[in-house]
């Protein structure tokens, strides 16, 4: 009989201890940890891996990012321009497929070229809208240089003179 009551007492005691903790949190306004997300937004840390951004003007078109990407997110097409430099005409990042592993950012040899923005809200209605296009587009056909033109004219004149 004594054992029966003892058991009852321990059971009641343990339940009440638990309830005590719950009530403690219930009445303590400091215990609130909820963040009111859409109204209050937290600032992500500096290393936050958000949406990928390419500063295309300093991109050298080395394709290191496209090669390291494990899920083929980056479509990169380059052509050589008049100065024999690689020009990234197409640089598409498919955000729908990106796993935000950060390998491309580490592979990029140029400072501040490819990096993560602190953006994390970029949902879209279609899959196409999730692809960011950074490419410079096809370059205009490089015209002849002035010296070449002059050379051409002199040549023509010589031919005409003969």
């Amino acid at each position: 009989m004594a054992g029966y009551f003892k058991k009852m007492f321990t059971a009641l005691n343990s339940v009440l201890t638990g309830m005590g903790i719950t009530i403690k949190y219930g009445v303590n306004p400091k215990a609130e940890v909820t963040q009111q997300y859409p109204e209050v937004k937290r600032e992500p840390p500096d290393r936050f891996r958000g949406k990928l951004f390419v500063n295309i003007n300093i991109c050298t078109g080395c394709t290191a990012c496209a090669r390291i990407c494990p899920v083929d997110v980056i479509t990169l097409k380059t052509v050589r321009d008049e100065n024999k430099k690689l020009r990234p005409v197409i640089f598409d990042i498919n955000n729908a497929r990106c796993i935000y592993c950060g390998l491309c950012v580490e592979a990029c040899p140029v400072d501040n070229c490819l990096y993560f923005e602190k953006k994390y809200e970029f949902s879209a209605y279609t899959k196409e809208d999730l692809i960011s296009h950074f490419g410079l587009g096809e370059a205009q056909s490089p015209g002849k240089k002035a010296e070449e033109k002059t050379a051409d004219v002199t040549k023509e004149q010589k031919e005409a003179a003969q």
């Binding site: 201890t17 638990g18 390291i68």
Partner: protein
Amino acid sequence: MPAADERFMQVNMGPQHPSTHGVLRLLVSTDGEVLRDARPYIGYLHRSLEKIAERVTYPQFTPFTDRLDYLASMNCNLAYAMTVEKLLNIEIPRRAQILRVIMAELNRISSHLIAFGSFSSDMGAFTPFLFGIREREFINDLFEMTCGSRLTYNYIRIGGVSQDIPEGFIGKTREFLDYFPAKIKEYNELLSYNAIFIKRLANIAVISTQDALDYGVTGPNLRASGIPWDLRRSEPYLIYNELDFNIPVGKGEVGTVGDAWDRYMMRIYEMEESSRIIRQCLDMLAPGDYTAKVSKVLKPPAGEVYVRAENPRGELGFYLVSDGSTKPYRLKIRAPSFANLSIIPKLARGVMIADLIAIIGSMDIILPEIDR
């Protein structure tokens, strides 16, 4: 599937059952309230990670290991990195090793917090789940400021870690470690020693020492059965042999050794031990390199290695065969949850349906790792 016995009712539990921790389908045949049999059907999360490994280079596979056990990505990263390093024979700088241990143990705590929380919500107590999530948030913030991600970290790389810890990390980690013990005490008061909770779990689904060994159960589930087998102690890697920590072993405090309550309690004890390890590591942290010099194109010599590491859920093993090219020839993943799942049909025979939830919850399986 065997021909259904007409005396028993065949019921599907899952794949969308909230207590199955993912997409586990259990085909149970019941005799009234009593289970005759429970067969797990898996594969709903199959992404053929082992095949993907053959198609990507060695460094490229690291983000995929995040997706093995997503609650303990750091530990999965670590095991994979150690496998490739063994093949390449690289020496890891000391600072990198300490950082790896800190991250792995922090992740162990966060994983056990989820195990604690989800188990309690399976058992019908929802409040502890929120408590667990609240403390996990601290760890998530720590990881986020270190590597920029909250779940799939991809932080531990071949050769070291991806970047050094940021300013303020040590202070914040210490803050967390000072704050955490009080919370563990609260968990114990709220849930662990609650009479209803004990009544529900004591003497349920006892795994005997022999069964645990026979079925290849590892991790806290094995230790709950009374076997002090922890790879951090039995087969030390990184700097674990220099650290002072205990291996908690199931003692059958409220019932039999190896019952569901013991398995649950192992995780609470391990969180305390992990906190101790992190504290020691923070003291040991000295300036140095955070990564060894690893060439960008990895070409390990032809050969094969098997490396295992102690994950929150058991032994995670990677069996890697290299043919000398830049891509693995074959990668076999030994997932701890898969072995732990295999004992469920044996445990489930003859128990009540409600206890099946307790069995799955106490084993703390995770499905992406099983299906991979």
